[in-house]
Amino acid sequence: MTESELDLDVDLEEDFEPEDLEGPSPVATLGDPVLVVDDLNIVYRVFGGKAKQVAGGANVKEGTAPRRSFLRRLVSSTSQHVGAVSEVHAVRGISFVARHGESIGIVGINGSGKSTLLRAITGLIPPHSGGVYVAGDPALLGVNAALMPQLTGEKNIWIGGLALGLTPKQVEERFDDVVEFADIGDFVYLPMKTYSSGMSARLRFAISSAATPDILMIDEALATGDAAFKARSKARIDEVRKNAGTIFLVSHSTSTIEAMCTRVLWVHQGQLVMDGPTGEVLEHYRTFVRAHRQARSSARAGGVGPRARSKQRSKKSD
């Protein structure tokens, strides 16, 4: 995959699926604040890459990224990390207040810090400075919930359910639901590494949606599976959303965001560049992405700063 594809892998209207978007646009009834984000900064340590090399030329290629060689590990252990560690400032000073009843979409090109922001406001990545304040328990719904591939689906449902904070009794009760929703049948008794990628994504989504949180965070969850599964997961999200009160949605598909969100945050290079009603923000965002595509296709010049590229490298472990 070339870099231009990586940077601008954004669905505009191409993947528009009308059946996803039936019904009127959501209307927010604003309540009390449930989430306050105050000057949030997230800094990753990245081992094995010098900041200078990452930031230096605009055309640093992936292949030249320094590997974490034995020598380098030795060097960094003696010189207390000088030289082999760089820091990536993924989220830089974002502040906003979310209220009960809002559905908030987060948009931005790849590597802009959307997923990091979402994980940070869920409390999964500790902030470097600033703070996140919430009412109740937020939970991340997604297909990224890493489970144990060498174990059976059955074991993974147990581990995932318990990790979400369910009691063993609750896991027992919801077990059949999860299996049925994931539609994996008897495969549930086989190790997850034998699953097709669609099956394992479905199972992970099913597990992560087993609990109903107060604040729901969705990370690209709708991007998985076939049309039938998409419809079912949309129904499940709607159901959870009714109980959840507040949702956050990260998606590359602007049409999904349009259908589900009342407010959109546009994140670029770790900063909040626009925050407002869905229609208004998406209009500007689409213009921006289209202009970028044209610029890319006419001249393959680097429009995205070196920060975004180093971010992609660090995100590979996700």
């Binding site: 820091e87 991340l140 890493a146 489970l147 581990i159 318990l162 992560s208 670029h268 626009m274 921006f288």
Partner: protein, 332 residues
């Protein structure tokens, strides 16, 4: 600010950019319409809880305890997963430590004869290697418990102390069948003509007690290394060497205290005391004293006291050390 070089040029009206160049730039970062104080006041007013910060120790302990079903499931599943990729499967949980013990018996017990002066070298080495393996693997598992589960940490909320605890539980799960084999080997070794008979005595019932103390001790140590390696991954490289030093210094495969009198007189006293009362030495002493009838290793209540002391100190200190780093796990 770290590596940023690309900054958007100032654009007055972000809504209607005129030139084509302006289209390529996102709007300037917005300035929030509330100040930090106002937002914090809002957070306090509506009684919001701060995320990503370390909870008070009391709440943390309660949270970890309430996750016991999770710890148990994760631990036993990990133990099972470890040995399922080969034909003999779970049998390896027993075969591995046995083969390990045989190697040391052949080299140190028979070839080098370092166990001279002991009545039953096989029992001595088998008990040493089986139990030390538990300690060594706990340290290694603890050191990897955070780094290997970064994805889990970044996907779900739970007190991170669950991870090292579950790792040690998983090792305990594989240790239990191995201990049975260990007891059988010790008994059988008494049937060899060169060694005296080893009868099963009432004191054998104390084995679960010392294993439980060792489990508590290992969990504490796993907490400590888990935090150290999570913050400074380089330490992972050093741990192997430290554990080897500990192995040879604890009398796992030969009575190390026999060699103390070869040292200069000035250091003999202090080195002897360290070797005798350091935790691994204490645990092995107690285990050997209850299983064998070695004249050199009589049962000693004081050693039990030392073992209990080490277990509690390691666990309490380890837990607090780990808890103090709670808000940092998962950022790297």
């Amino acid at each position: 600010m770290t590596t940023d070089t690309a900054r958007g040029a100032p654009s007055g009206d972000r809504g209607t950019p005129g030139a084509k160049d302006d289209l390529l730039r996102p709007p300037e970062p917005i300035v929030p319409d509330t100040t930090s104080q106002e937002r914090l006041a809002l957070a306090t007013q509506f009684d919001l809880r701060q995320m990503g910060v370390r909870p008070p120790l009391k709440d943390y302990v309660r949270d970890v305890v309430s996750r016991w079903p999770f710890i148990r499931t994760l631990g036993t599943s990990t133990a099972y997963a470890k040995n399922q990729n080969n034909y003999l499967g779970q049998l390896w949980a027993v075969l591995n430590p046995t083969l390990n013990a045989i190697v040391y018996i052949l080299i140190f017990g028979i070839l080098l004869g370092t166990t001279r002066g002991l009545e039953n070298a096989i029992a001595f080495i088998v008990i040493g290697t089986f139990l030390f393996r538990f300690v060594e693997q706990s340290v290694h598992a603890g050191s990897r418990s955070i780094a290997q589960k970064t994805n889990l940490i970044r996907s779900m909320h739970f007190p991170r102390a669950v991870l090292p605890t579950a790792q040690v539980v998983s090792l305990l799960a594989t240790l239990v069948p191995a201990l049975l084999v260990m007891c059988v080997i010790v008994l059988l070794s008494g049937l060899l003509p060169a060694y005296p008979m080893i009868p099963i005595r009432w004191s054998w019932l104390l084995l679960p007690a010392i294993v439980a103390l060792l489990w508590i001790f290992n969990t504490g140590v796993a907490f400590m290394v888990a935090r150290a390696v999570a913050i400074t991954p380089d330490l992972d490289n050093v741990i192997g060497f430290i554990m080897r030093l500990v192995m040879y210094g604890s009398g796992v495969i030969f009575p190390v205290t026999h060699y103390v009198d070869r040292l200069p007189d000035a250091v003999q006293g202090i080195v002897g005391a360290i070797l005798e009362y350091q935790p691994i030495g204490v645990f092995l002493y107690v285990a050997r004293s209850i299983l064998t009838q070695e004249p050199e290793i009589p049962q000693d209540p004081w050693m039990w006291l030392w073992a209990a002391l080490w277990a509690i100190v390691a666990f309490v200190v380890g837990f607090i050390v780990f808890w103090r780093g709670e808000e940092r796990y998962g950022r790297d």
